[in-house]
């Protein structure tokens, strides 16, 4: 099958794939290999030139004892699980409510999308002011109910919940959007059938919509969960990991080690470890999903 036509097609396929593969190789694989190489060296910058000293796996050995990194990992997991679970539940009810109404659908959707479009750092700035001890709206509002003003971002046991609440505010709309698309893709006669059978709204939700929506819910959860493991912008602005290490998250630990403490070798080892851990998590999720599907089949 080496007609001129087939040869031309092969040629154009190579041309079309070249840019994608170039980005893949030059901007992903190569830097990551470089990162791996860095992680077994100590790197110092002298007059714009890097000097590399081989240290073997010393950095990796250090990881195991790094208390801050452990705290960061635990905090990141708590943050992601709690924030995303609440986002999914809230988003689900919002999407359900919007799918049941006729008027003002677009208006609600417009309002709910707004936080998704705003830079994360701006969300951080807004909430830093909102949560301010002296003049923040949150304290003013809670005072109406007789709650004493709190230093939300400056108190160790309140900082992480505060950051989680900000994340819920920021990303529930995204879950809402995906779940609404899910609701809208369900056939309309389901609702009519449930209506004829005299099912209450609650029964319909529980026994008709919830099972049918499960795949979309799972996809949304996974997508959001993975994204929230990367949280950085809001933390950077709201708390900087503090007070103490109460809002320390992985991204922030790496950032500080690599960029503000200038420990490039150790920071690289951390990045590689995180990459590895996340890949493992992905394989685990994939394997669980496969096992689940096989059971269902």
């Amino acid at each position: 099958m080496h007609t001129p036509y087939a040869r031309r097609l092969t040629f154009w396929r190579r041309v079309a794939l070249t840019p994608t593969l170039a980005v893949f190789l030059l901007l992903s694989i190569l830097p990551l290999l470089n990162l791996a190489a860095l992680s077994v060296h100590n790197v110092r910058w002298e007059e714009g030139r890097a000097s590399w000293d081989y240290v073997g796996f010393a950095h990796y050995a250090r990881l195991a004892e790094d208390q801050l990194l452990h705290t960061g990992m635990v905090n990141t997991l708590i943050f992601s699980v709690v924030a995303v679970s609440i986002q999914i539940v809230l988003g689900f009810f919002l999407a359900w409510a919007v799918s049941r109404i006729r008027r003002a659908r677009i208006l609600y959707r417009t309002i709910f999308i707004l936080p998704i479009l705003v830079p994360g750092i701006l969300i951080g700035a807004i909430w830093k002011l909102m949560l301010n001890y002296d003049f923040g709206l949150v304290n003013d509002f809670l005072m109406l109910f007789g709650v004493m003003p709190q230093d939300w971002l400056g108190t160790p046991h309140l900082a992480l919940p505060s950051v989680i609440i900000v994340d819920i505010w920021h990303w529930t709309p995204f879950c809402f959007l995906l779940l609404l698309a899910g609701f809208e893709s369900l056939p309309q006669d389901l609702h009519e059938a449930a209506l004829v059978d005299g099912a209450s709204a609650w029964t319909e939700l529980r026994y008709v919509y919830l099972p049918l929506m499960m795949p979309v819910i799972l996809v949304t959860f996974l997508f959001r969960f993975v994204t929230s493991l990367k949280v950085f912008d809001e933390i950077y602005l709201l708390t900087g990991g503090g007070p103490g290490s109460s809002t320390e998250v992985i991204s922030y630990t790496i950032y500080r080690t690599f960029f503000t403490q200038d420990q490039m070798g150790y920071g690289s080892a951390m990045s590689v470890a995180v990459l590895f851990a996340i890949s493992m998590l992905m394989v685990l999720a994939w394997a669980t999903g496969r096992a689940g599907r096989r059971e269902a089949a």
Partner: protein, 276 residues
């Protein structure tokens, strides 16, 4: 029966209105804060005499960087969006319609998934030493390339998804008429997937415009983007709350414009692939 229905709807509207208020109040409050004097702001006054002082300070003071930052953001977001669109369109077309070997497709898919999971800061750490050696740090080129690398995977699958919906008969007909591949892509496929292209473009522009972790570490004063500038306001020894609020209010404008002009595309871009 009818009454029961309207009652239900009333409950739903109540719920949605309540949530809408929660969503909107922070935005309204920050915009109001931008019009307050520093004293009114610090006293938490809800009733105040509006002033443009903060805006004046942000926009026209001698030390302002606002326009430079906005220009940087515009340049980086526009260039990276254009580059991504080009690569993703030809790449997506190759994946869907050009008999690309499966191992390449699977390799790209795996890469995309991993890339989506990796914290951007790890990637910055990977690029940073190379960039310094090549003199790419603190350049627009460097930041554009970084944004392309971060966002291309998503754009690639979006475009592949849109190409999949193009009727194959059209392409076959064009082939029989002797249409070459580039001509076919440009004259037949691109016009059909134009709405998808628009959705991807808007999304990529917003992502690049909003991106912070990469920009923070790869730019200095000359190339800093708007998010980096906002962060700087909040990190100083003495936080200038008024100016921070004014900058925040001003940087809400692009999001509002996108929302009003391109909402349909945004929704399409964000939900494509998730519900299939």
């Amino acid at each position: 029966m009818k009454q029961a229905l309207t009652e239900h709807r009333r409950f739903e509207h109540l719920f949605l209105i309540l949530v809408s208020v929660f969503v909107l109040v922070p935005f309204v409050w920050i915009i109001a804060a931008a019009f307050k004097t520093q004293i009114d702001l610090l006293q938490g006054k809800l009733l105040f005499e509006p002033t443009l002082d903060s805006f004046r300070e942000v926009l026209f003071s001698k030390t302002t960087e606002f326009f430079r930052n906005t220009a940087s953001s515009l340049i980086v977001a526009t260039l990276s969006t254009l580059v991504i669109l080009f690569i993703a369109t030809v790449g997506g077309y190759a994946i869907e319609r050009m008999h690309t070997p499966r191992w390449i497709v699977h390799g790209l898919l795996g890469w995309s998934v991993v890339f989506h999971m990796v914290p951007p800061i790890t990637l910055v750490a990977a690029w940073f030493p190379l960039y310094r050696q090549l003199g790419l740090d603190n350049t627009y080129t460097g930041l554009v390339l970084a944004h392309v690398a971060v966002h291309l995977p998503m754009a690639l699958w979006l475009m592949a998804n849109f190409v999949r919906d193009v009727p194959i008969e059209l392409e076959e007909a064009a082939r029989i008429d002797g249409c070459s591949t580039p001509y076919l892509l440009w004259r037949i496929v691109v016009p059909i997937i134009a709405p998808g292209l628009a959705a991807t473009a808007i999304l990529m522009f917003i992502f690049s415009w909003n991106e912070f972790a990469v920009a923070l570490n790869m730019t200095a004063k000359q190339t800093a983007t708007v998010p980096v500038a906002i962060a700087k306001f909040a990190q100083g020894y003495e936080i200038k709350y008024g100016e921070m609020a004014a900058t925040a209010a001003l940087s809400l404008i692009p999001a509002l414009l996108f929302l009003l002009l391109g909402q349909r595309h945004i929704v399409k871009g964000l939900t494509t692939g998730a519900v299939k």
